[in-house]
C-alpha cells in the first residue's frame, strides 16, 4: 500500500449473513489511522450488517477483522473486552438506555471502565453533552427529547471513553439537512482534535462528498465491494458506473 499511514482496521475476506442468508462475501479493505471512512451503497446491500459484524454484535460466517493489528474475530472474551473499550458505536436511532437519564447514559461506560469518582464522571458526562450541543439536558430521559437530540446524545455516549475508533450507523438518517451538516461538522471536529478513526455507514451523498476521506461501495450484484477510493476520484470515473451514478445523480427532472 502506497499510503504511509498505519491501518486502524483491517477486514480480510469477511462473509456476513443476515438471518441465515449470506449477503456479503470476501469483503476485504483497510481503514487508515485518523481517516474518515465511509461504507456506502443502496438500501439492503448489507452496510449495517457489515458494521455489526465488524464490531462483534454479529459473528461473521468467515474472515477476520483486526484492530491495530490484533485480530478481533479470534480474540478471547477478555481480549475482546479490552478492544471494545477502544471503540465507540453510534446507533441509527441513538439506542440510548431508556431507563437512564442522558447523563447516566454517558456515565455508564465511564463507570464500567474507569475508576474515576462519581462527581468527576458526572462532570465529564455534562462536558460530553455540551460538546454535542445538549448542555442543560443532563437529567432528561431519552423519551423526553427529539430524535435528532437522541442521535447526538448517542454520539456523546460513543465518545465517552475517548475511543480510538468511532463507528456510525446512518448518522444523518431522519435528520433535516441543516442538522445533518452540523453532525458532519462535529464528526470532522472530533477527528481533527483527537485523531479518531471514523467509520460511517451512510447513503447520504452530501455527507460523503463533504467529509469522507475514502469510501467503499457495496453492491448486491457481487455481494461485495464494487468501488474503493477517494470520493472525488470515484465521482470522476467512467460515466454510467454505479458509483458515479451514486455520487453524482442529484435530480430526476431533466432541465
Amino acid at each position: 500500500m502506497s499510503d504511509p499511514k498505519p491501518n486502524s482496521i483491517e477486514v480480510t475476506g469477511l462473509a456476513c449473513a443476515y438471518q441465515d442468508r449470506r449477503v456479503l462475501e470476501g469483503v476485504t479493505f483497510s481503514v487508515h489511522d485518523a481517516e474518515i471512512f465511509f461504507i456506502v451503497g443502496g438500501t439492503g446491500v448489507g452496510k449495517t450488517t457489515l458494521l455489526r459484524n465488524m464490531v462483534g454484535i454479529s459473528t461473521p460466517v468467515e474472515g477476520d477483522v483486526s484492530f491495530h493489528g490484533r485480530s478481533f474475530t479470534a480474540a478471547d472474551p477478555a481480549a475482546r473486552r479490552d478492544m471494545l473499550k477502544t471503540f465507540g458505536l453510534s446507533f441509527q436511532g441513538g439506542a440510548l438506555w431508556t431507563s437512564l437519564t442522558l447523563s447516566e447514559n454517558i456515565a455508564l461506560p465511564l463507570e464500567e471502565y474507569t475508576r474515576l469518582p462519581k462527581d468527576e464522571i458526572a462532570r465529564i458526562a455534562a462536558f460530553r453533552l455540551s460538546q454535542v450541543g445538549l448542555e442543560g439536558f443532563e437529567d432528561y430521559f431519552p423519551s423526553e427529547i427529539s430524535g435528532g437530540m437522541r442521535k447526538r446524545a448517542g454520539l456523546a455516549r460513543a465518545l465517552a471513553l475517548d475511543p480510538a475508533i468511532v463507528f456510525f450507523d446512518e448518522p444523518s438518517a431522519g435528520l433535516d439537512p441543516v442538522t445533518a451538516r452540523n453532525l458532519d461538522r462535529l464528526i470532522l471536529e472530533v477527528r481533527d482534535t483527537f485523531g479518531t478513526t471514523i467509520v460511517i455507514v451512510s447513503h447520504d451523498v452530501d455527507s460523503i462528498l463533504g467529509i469522507a476521506d475514502r469510501l467503499i461501495m457495496l453492491d448486491n450484484s457481487t455481494r461485495g465491494i464494487i468501488a474503493e477510493g477517494k470520493p472525488a476520484d470515484l465521482a470522476g470515473g467512467p460515466a454510467g458506473s454505479k458509483i458515479v451514478e451514486f455520487l453524482t445523480r442529484r435530480t430526476v427532472r431533466s432541465g
Binding site: R52, V55, G56, I57, R80, R81, L84, K85, F87, L89, F91, Q92, G93, A95, L96, W97, T98, L108, P109, E111, E112, R157
Partner: protein
C-alpha cells in the same frame, strides 16, 4: 376529465379487420367501476394479429393498463403480433411494463417442502435448548462473580425492581390469596361436614396454603405481572438496539439486566408467598366464622396442631424456585424477542406461558422429592 361529469362506461369493442382483431377502447376506465376483461373480449378467437386503439377513452387508470398488459401477454403466448402503436405513449409504456411483470419466472419461490420445514424446526429447537443452557450458565457465572465480589452489581436497579415486583404486587396477591382461602374453605366444608368435622377446615386450609397454594398463587400472579413486564421491557430494549449498545461496550446484558431482576424476584417471592399464606388462612378463617360458626381462636389453635415449621419451609423453598423461574423465563424471552413491536408482544405472552408451565412442572417434582425425604 373531472369525475363529477357524466362518466360513460368503459367499453372494449372488437372488430375484425381482415386477419387482424382491432379492439377500440372508449369510455371512462376506473379501477372501481366495471371494466371489460381481455379474456372476454378475445373469447375463443384466434386472430393473426391484434391492434389496440384508445381514441374514445375519456379517463383511464390502472384498470386500462391491466387490459393492455393482459392483451400483450396473451399475444406473446399465442404468438401473434400485438400492435399497440395507436395507443398514447404513456398507455403503451405502462401496458408493456405490466405485461413484463406477468411473465413467469420473475417471482422467487422460497416456500419450503414439509420435510425441510420439519428439519428447520428441529434444528431451531435444538439450538434453542443449547442457547437456554448457555443462558443459565451465564447467569450462574454472573451470580458467582457477584458473590465473590468481582463484578459491580447494580443494587439500585435491583432495589427498584424489588419494589416493583414485591411491594407493588401486594394488593393483587392479597386479593387472590384471600379468595383462594375462601374457596378452599367452602369446598372443604362440603366434605368435612358429612363427618361432623367442620373444625378440620382449619387444618385443610393451613396445610394447603402453606405447602402449596401460597407459593403457587404468588408464582402465578408474578408470572403474569412481573415475568411479562420483564419480557416486554427487555424485548423493547432489544428492538431499540439498547442491548446491542451494551454488547458493544463489552457490558454483559445478563449482568446488567438479568441478574438484578432475577435476584429481585427471587428475594421477593418467599416474602410474597408467606404473605399469601397469611391472607389465605385469613380467608378460610372468615368463612369458618361466618358460615361454619367456628370462632377464630378455635380455628387458629386447630390449625397449629397440624401446620408446623416444615410446612412453611416447604412453601418457602418452592417460592424461591418459582421466583427464579419467573425471573429467568421473563428475561430469557425478552432477550430472545424479535427486533420489532410484534416481537415484544410475543415475548411477553411466551414469558407467562413458559413461567406457568415450569412452575407446574417444578411443583410436581417437588411433590415427589418432599415425599421421598419425608418433609
Amino acid at each position: 376529465m373531472s369525475a363529477s361529469q357524466e362518466t360513460p362506461a368503459a367499453r372494449a369493442l372488437a372488430r375484425v379487420d381482415g386477419p387482424v382483431l382491432e379492439v377500440s377502447l372508449d369510455g371512462s376506465w376506473r379501477l372501481g367501476g366495471a371494466t371489460p376483461r381481455w379474456r372476454s373480449v378475445v373469447g375463443s378467437e384466434k386472430p393473426a394479429g391484434v391492434r389496440l386503439r384508445a381514441d374514445g377513452v375519456t379517463h383511464w387508470d390502472t384498470s386500462l393498463v391491466v387490459f393492455v398488459g393482459e392483451a400483450k401477454s396473451w399475444c406473446t403466448k399465442a404468438g401473434v403480433e400485438c400492435d399497440i402503436a395507436p395507443l398514447p405513449e404513456k398507455m403503451r409504456l405502462l401496458g408493456s411494463e405490466f405485461a413484463r411483470s406477468l411473465e413467469a419466472g420473475t417471482r422467487e419461490d422460497h416456500a419450503q417442502s414439509f420435510l425441510h420445514e420439519v428439519g428447520l424446526a428441529t434444528r431451531h429447537a435444538w439450538l434453542q435448548a443449547g442457547d437456554f443452557l448457555g443462558f443459565i450458565g451465564e447467569c450462574w457465572l454472573g451470580a458467582k462473580r457477584l458473590v465473590v465480589g468481582q463484578s459491580g452489581f447494580r443494587w439500585n436497579d435491583c432495589l427498584a425492581e424489588m419494589q416493583k415486583c414485591g411491594a407493588m404486587a401486594l394488593p393483587i396477591v392479597s386479593l387472590i390469596s384471600f379468595l383462594v382461602g375462601v374457596t378452599l374453605a367452602y369446598s372443604g366444608a362440603i366434605v368435612l361436614r358429612r363427618f361432623g368435622g367442620d373444625i378440620w377446615v382449619a387444618d385443610l386450609i393451613g396445610v394447603s396454603m402453606t405447602r402449596e397454594m401460597g407459593a403457587m398463587m404468588a408464582g402465578i400472579v408474578l408470572a403474569g405481572r412481573t415475568g411479562a413486564a420483564y419480557a416486554a421491557e427487555i424485548g423493547s430494549m432489544k428492538a431499540n438496539e439498547e442491548i446491542d449498545a451494551l454488547t458493544v461496550l463489552g457490558i454483559s446484558p445478563v449482568r446488567f439486566l438479568v441478574l438484578p431482576r432475577v435476584l429481585a424476584v427471587g428475594l421477593m417471592m418467599p416474602l410474597l408467598a408467606m404473605y399469601a399464606n397469611c391472607m389465605g388462612i385469613l380467608g378460610g378463617m372468615a368463612v369458618a366464622y361466618a358460615a361454619l360458626d367456628i370462632p377464630p381462636p378455635a380455628y387458629w389453635i386447630e390449625m397449629l396442631t397440624i401446620v408446623d415449621f416444615s410446612d412453611v419451609t416447604v412453601g418457602v423453598i418452592k417460592s424461591v424456585v418459582y421466583g427464579l423461574i419467573v425471573g429467568l423465563s421473563g428475561c430469557r424471552r425478552g432477550l430472545q424477542a424479535e427486533n420489532n413491536a410484534a416481537g415484544v408482544g410475543k415475548a411477553a405472552t411466551s414469558a407467562v406461558v413458559t413461567a406457568i408451565l415450569f412452575i407446574i412442572i417444578a411443583d410436581a417434582i417437588f411433590a415427589v422429592i418432599f415425599n421421598v425425604v419425608g418433609l
